[in-house]
Symmetry: C2
Subunit: 326 residues, 2 copies
């Protein structure tokens, strides 16, 4: 018996979820739900059934978990409570400041429906959050550091593309290696986000554009670049296509703590991802398995990564896990 899964939304994340489900024999994709015309999505997607989101309700009882792949700005605040009133759900809501409010709304909807919703999973929030919690609980005296990258920042890439004379471009957030090395060697400096990261831009300039002017506009741009160490590289359109089409990302959570009389102890978790959406999708799929199991156990309401025993993520039995992985 497989766990029956639906996908809501079919951008990069939704496509990643489809691929991740194929890697897990105990899960089965029933249908992809979309706000677009389902027929438009079918070309080149053999073996996937597309349905309009308005038909979701008809699948009540035949889909075990819906994986919600919309964005945090406008999609998920509406979608998660609505879908949670019919199905178990998993989402990657990542607007940190709004998580408490989002939790309350989803929890109320899921409790009332008797469904279970895993909210705000992925890698940050998600795996990074787990590691922040774990290291802080074990080393209460200490400092932790989260670094992001090297990875594309969509907001900053959009900002550079709006600069006059810029034809195309991409921006990477890059953790400062020298700072990471200091922390790994046991120092615990006070650092702002901007001291931990630099920004690197790869730009295709329009023909005849003043590169010096573009550079100046970017590095002095308030909020986005002015306070950061920013490097601007001009490249050809061919190079941009060849080298910068991927969606790599990653980062580190490092806690540097002390035990006893000043004994240094360092805990580090890191990710190096060739595809951010495919990895996030793989996390969502593992949590879909957990959502199904928790629901079968009779639990309901909103849950976060903090509430879920990690054994529930694996297709292996508790006995197999103890024998093979402990």
């Amino acid at each position: 018996m497989t766990i029956k899964v639906g996908i809501v939304g079919y951008g990069n994340l939704g496509k990643g979820v489809r691929k991740a489900i194929e890697q897990n024999a105990d899960l089965e994709l029933v249908a992809v739900f979309t706000r677009r015309e389902p027929g438009q999505l079918e070309a080149g997607q053999e073996g996937v059934r597309f349905e309009h989101i308005s038909t979701a309700e008809q699948h009540k009882g035949s889909i075990d978990v819906m994986i919600l792949c919309g964005g945090s700005a406008t999609d998920l605040p509406e979608q998660t409570p609505a879908i949670a009133s019919m199905f178990n759900t998993v989402d990657s809501f990542d607007t940190h400041a709004k998580i408490p409010e989002f939790y309350d709304k989803v929890n109320a909807a899921a409790k009332q429906a008797g469904t279970l919703s895993v909210i705000s999973t992925g890698w940050d929030p998600g795996l990074f959050s787990l590691n922040r919690l774990l290291a802080e609980a074990i080393l209460p005296e200490g400092k932790d550091y989260t670094f992001w990258g090297k990875g594309v920042s969509q907001g900053h890439s959009d900002a550079i593309r709006r600069v006059p004379g810029v034809k195309a471009g991409v921006q990477y957030t890059v953790p400062v290696q020298a700072v990471i090395d200091r922390i790994r060697s046991g120092e615990t400096p006070e650092l702002s986000t901007r001291e931990k990261h630099l920004r690197e831009c790869f730009i295709v300039a329009e023909e005849g554009a003043d590169q010096e002017q573009i550079r100046e506009t970017i590095v002095t741009m308030p909020n986005y670049f002015a306070d950061y160490d920013t490097k601007v590289n001009f490249i050809s359109e061919e190079e941009l296509k060849a080298e910068h089409e991927g969606m790599p990302h990653g980062g580190f959570v490092i806690r540097s703590g002390v035990t006893g009389a000043g004994t240094k102890q360092i805990v580090e978790f890191g990710l190096k991802l060739e595809s951010n959406p495919e990895f996030t999708a793989s996390v969502l799929v593992a949590y879909a398995r957990a959502a199904y199991r928790l629901s079968k156990e009779g639990q309901s309401g909103a849950k976060t990564v903090f509430d879920i025993p990690l054994g529930h993520l694996s297709p292996k039995s508790a006995e197999e896990l103890r024998r093979e992985l402990l």
Copy 2:
């Protein structure tokens, strides 16, 4: 209201637990239980109450969790089931091959008594196990690698001290950096434990001993060194005392997996510990908090790190965790 904790066994690990409890305001040490004469342990340990292990039963109802700090070879196989028949327990049983059998015995004792026992926690088994599980569940197609060190191996240190002409010495297991670098860069080689680690010995020779003979005896010693790349350094007694009295350890769990059409994704967890026993103790103390909470929730029997939501390790409420750490 604090969680009342007892410590059973007062070697390096038990001492580490005492120090870790002092770092956690919600925990309180009631007494240290020992098989030795309690009076012998009191010198220089102000503020700690020592009791003979035979008196433990009298504390039933007034100690919430017993942290068992004995060894895995002979202490814990007896102690954990015995103490679990009276108290919630946490231990660091680390004989991997015998965990299933140990689990069954402890589970039976704890179920019958209505207590809860967290077995086999620490960092390996423990945090490393959690990370092996997490990465495998998220990246089902992949390979994982566990490296230990740089850290002292007690068994190998004992072996070199038995070599004729050796006055004192210590052996470190050291992960091979070049191999780690290959894996971090995306390669997935097949590697045995000996290909991933080298062995480094620091030896104080007896006066007039033949150093070349000692080196030869060590590097050709079957099982312990013959199949490893082994480096032997001769140092003075003063240097041994100054540089090699600590108990550093650590290591890495790295999973290199693929998603989609061969997209590489790497997940890594690492520890760099100045004191292995103090860090292990800190993990046990965080799991003591979890054992107490699970027991309060009405659960009983043996549990491993795979069964416990990580939120239970933290003194913070679920709401605080969502707001501050998610």
